[in-house]
């Protein structure tokens, strides 16, 4: 059975992908993120727009195609996200 993911978990998955699975130094493409984060194009577009506006991701224009890199605030957010995921796990909850 497919695992239900909260909005926060999806954001965590996207940020982790941009941090850990960069194809090259230029960032991850939308197609790559869709595959790795397992999410539809329409949904990921809205989330990426929010993450860029919040400063958690950086949008890089690479030869006509948009790629995304995790920013320093994004790394700090991810660190906090991982710590408080464990905290919520203790209460049997997902953040």
């Amino acid at each position: 059975m497919a695992e239900y993911r909260t909005h926060m978990k999806i954001i965590g998955d996207i940020l982790e992908t941009t941090r850990d699975d960069l194809q090259d130094g230029d960032g991850a493409s939308v197609t790559y993120l869709i595959r790795k984060a397992n999410i539809s194009h329409s949904r990921i577009s809205a989330i990426l727009k929010t993450l860029v506006s919040q400063g958690l991701l950086e949008k890089v224009d690479n030869q006509g195609s948009n790629k995304y890199k995790i920013s320093q605030p994004g790394r700090e957010f991810l660190q906090a996200y991982n710590k408080f995921t464990n905290f919520a796990d203790n209460f049997g909850l997902s953040i």
Partner: protein, 213 residues
């Protein structure tokens, strides 16, 4: 003896609730998670509830010297704690959608046996008991899914608080028995069990991020 235990229980409850509440709030500020916001409300409520009762005992001891805490203060404190227990259970119910949950329905009939009068304190204690039992069961089920050892401690903590709440309510039937001191000792144990896994969460390098909303 009971006065001392009451003071220890209410102070421990206040401090544990405050510590977990602050940690949840730091988490909420850093991640914006609604779950952590609900936990913040839950544990601040629990903390304030214990503090109100502790204040009631202090006022009785140093000001009124009536020999017993004002009933309305005790009821108010228990009511505020019940709000906190509600938010813990509510967080789980969102996760599992409780109308489908047969064991929740099965414990839902317990108030019919527990509420012997219309006194608010009795009602709040029985509601708290149900919410705590529900939270304990859900947390244990979560442990069975994720095998996170901290969840055992929290589940045992909520279970002990539920048992303490039940014995505290039942002590109205046998007012001079050992039930009430036992309920307080059990609740102190429950609060300590709640705090153990939370105390192991490293908070180094976690800070408030003023820019992130």
């Amino acid at each position: 003896m009971e006065f001392l235990l009451e003071n220890i229980l209410n102070l421990v409850g206040f401090l544990v609730g405050l510590a977990i509440g602050i940690m949840s709030y730091v988490g909420f500020r850093n991640t914006g998670s609604p779950t952590l916001f609900r936990l913040t409300i839950a544990f601040f409520s629990i903390s304030i509830g214990f503090f109100v009762i502790w204040t009631g005992y202090m006022v009785e001891d140093f000001v009124t010297k009536s020999g017993t805490i004002e009933r309305w203060i005790q009821t108010l404190g228990i009511a505020i704690q019940t709000v906190g227990y509600f938010f813990i259970a509510f967080s789980h119910s969102i996760k599992s959608f409780f109308p489908k949950s047969s064991y929740f329905r099965s414990v839902g009939i317990i108030p019919l046996f527990l509420v012997s009068s219309v006194q608010l304190e009795h009602i709040f204690r029985s509601v708290s008991f149900i919410l705590l039992v529900y939270g304990a069961i859900e947390t244990m089920l979560s442990y069975l899914e994720n095998r996170n050892k901290g969840a055992i401690s929290v589940s045992v903590g909520l279970g002990l608080l539920a048992l303490g709440e039940f014995l505290g309510w039942y002590s109205f039937v046998f007012p001079d028995s050992i039930l009430y001191p036992a309920s307080m000792i059990i609740k102190i144990g429950g609060l300590v069990a709640l705090f153990i896994p939370v105390s192991k969460v490293p908070l180094t390098k976690i800070k408030f991020d003023e820019d992130f909303e």
